[in-house]
């Protein structure tokens, strides 16, 4: 007899661990697997997340994973004109470094953050198997499904009511179910970032727009704790002949920040594909739902995905606990309700952001496009933005 679970989750990133923890807090029997031996690595992410996003899903800010506190934004255009949105100035009674005040958000170390989230899930009662790869799944006539796993060298089948694919942008789980997880080339930003020494920062997330530096995306400079910084950028490969590596070199050597970057020393090199795309149109199948990057729960303007993974995970965890209590088979039709709930809470706003993004990047005139992106970014991060919590 195979081991039985209510929910099996493949992928132990922020979305998978949050789904797992919340389902377990509602007394579901949950197995979380990840093929890695160490979570969060290799790092494919800048690590910026708002304090609100953590609080919303009941995660306490902890020095275990926080690298530096963030108090606002600085949005630059191509030639260095910028708009500073520093909450220490905008709301000095609320935001600041002193003990009676709070930061707006954090830059986290994904290796520690993901492990911390997994620890919270384990403490809530989730079984976690590392070094465990998902090989496939099949729907059973009795309304459950069998998930085929390989743990170290051993092949193990487990039975589940619902399988959750939280296996990232490269989602294989979605492909098993025949979902259209395939993303188009113009909508995947090719990203590269360096962790550097000798670049000063001031508690702000700096975003640098302009076709010259990051065609189809933007560049960033984030504080990374211990006096380190992160210099990164994402480009759409349909909008440039050059790769991300060439662009980051060009940005460091030739931008208006070249003096600031002159003595920078590279400590780590990281990269990834970041979707600046619409959410997946279908995020469910028989006995299966997708969360996080796998469902493309990513902000299409900023490429930010931690907040959306946490919130989406909480929606999935709550949905599953309510649904499985009814004791009915988890058909695609039944699970479509998960997507409905997600759309109402987050997805519809994400679609709206996608429309704004599409409008910007279909503008042919580069100067107009640059101006639109700069304006959109400036508005997006302003205190009165309607998208503040996405």
């Amino acid at each position: 007899m195979n081991k039985q679970y209510d929910v099996v989750i493949i992928g132990s990133g922020p979305a998978g661990t949050t789904t797992a923890r919340i389902a377990a807090e509602h007394h579901l029997n949950v197995l979380l697997v990840d093929k890695k031996q160490e979570l969060g690595s290799p790092i494919q992410c800048s690590g910026a997340v708002s304090r609100h996003a953590l609080e919303y899903v009941g995660i306490a800010p902890s020095t275990e994973y926080i690298q530096e506190a963030i108090y606002g934004f600085d949005i630059y255009n191509q030639v260095g004109k910028h708009k500073t949105i520093d909450y220490r100035d905008l709301k000095p009674e609320e935001y600041g470094a002193s003990e009676d005040k709070k930061p707006l958000g954090y830059v986290v170390d994904r290796r520690r953050f993901d492990r911390y989230l997994m620890t919270q899930a384990e403490r809530a009662g989730v079984d976690v198997w590392l070094k465990t790869e998902g090989l496939g799944y099949k729907v059973n006539p009795d309304g459950t499904c069998t998930v085929f796993l390989k743990r170290f060298n051993e092949e193990i089948n487990v039975q589940a009511k619902v399988l959750v694919g939280a296996d990232g942008l490269q989602s294989q789980v979605g492909k098993w179910a025949g979902l259209h997880t395939h993303i188009k080339l113009p909508e995947l930003a090719s990203c590269l970032q360096f962790i550097v020494d000798n670049v000063e920062t001031n508690g702000l997330l700096e975003i640098i727009t302009g076709h010259e530096w990051a065609p189809g995306g933007y560049a960033w400079v984030f504080p990374k704790g211990h006096g380190y910084a992160e210099i990164g950028l994402g480009v759409a490969r349909t909008m440039t002949e050059k790769n991300a590596q060439w662009h980051i070199d060009h940005f460091i050597k030739n931008s208006f920040f070249k003096e600031r970057f002159k003595h920078s020393k590279v400590l780590e090199i990281q990269g990834g594909g970041v979707p600046l795309a619409a959410p997946l149109k279908t995020q469910y199948a028989d006995n299966l739902i997708l969360v996080g990057d796998a469902a493309r729960h990513v902000n299409p303007i900023t490429g930010g995905g931690i907040h959306t993974a946490l919130s989406g995970g909480a929606i999935a965890g709550n949905f599953l606990s309510n649904f499985l209590r009814k004791n009915i088979a988890a058909t695609a039709n039944q699970l479509s309700q998960y997507q409905e709930e997600w759309l109402v809470a987050l997805g519809n706003k994400m679609w709206k952001l996608y429309d704004i993004k599409t409008e910007i990047f279909k503008t042919k005139n580069i100067q107009d496009r640059d101006q639109m992106l700069y304006q959109t970014m400036s508005d997006y991060f302003s205190p009165d933005s309607e998208f503040k919590k996405i």
Binding site: P42, Q44, L169, Q170, H182, S190, C191, Q245, Q270, G272
Partner: protein, 70 residues
């Protein structure tokens, strides 16, 4: 850009930063991956759209054409 002839991909393992972008963009079915989370290098790709080569941030995916055996 797109080719009809099947290709076999090669990865520059030293330059590869293991970012997964090639797998994310790939229109192949599930399982067209290597043990290192890159695009598969041990079987031919018959789509040969080559967008994985485009998306690679460090341009380290190359290919050779595979002559189909009859």
């Amino acid at each position: 850009m797109s080719k009809r002839t099947p290709v076999l991909f090669q990865i520059g393992w030293n330059a590869c930063i293991n970012c997964g972008a090639c797998v994310a963009i790939c229109p192949q079915e599930a399982g067209f991956i290597s043990p290192f989370d890159t695009i598969a290098v041990d079987k031919p790709c018959d789509i040969a759209c080559l967008i994985c080569e485009d998306i690679c941030p460090v341009s380290t995916i190359t290919h050779t054409e595979v002559i189909p055996t009859k």
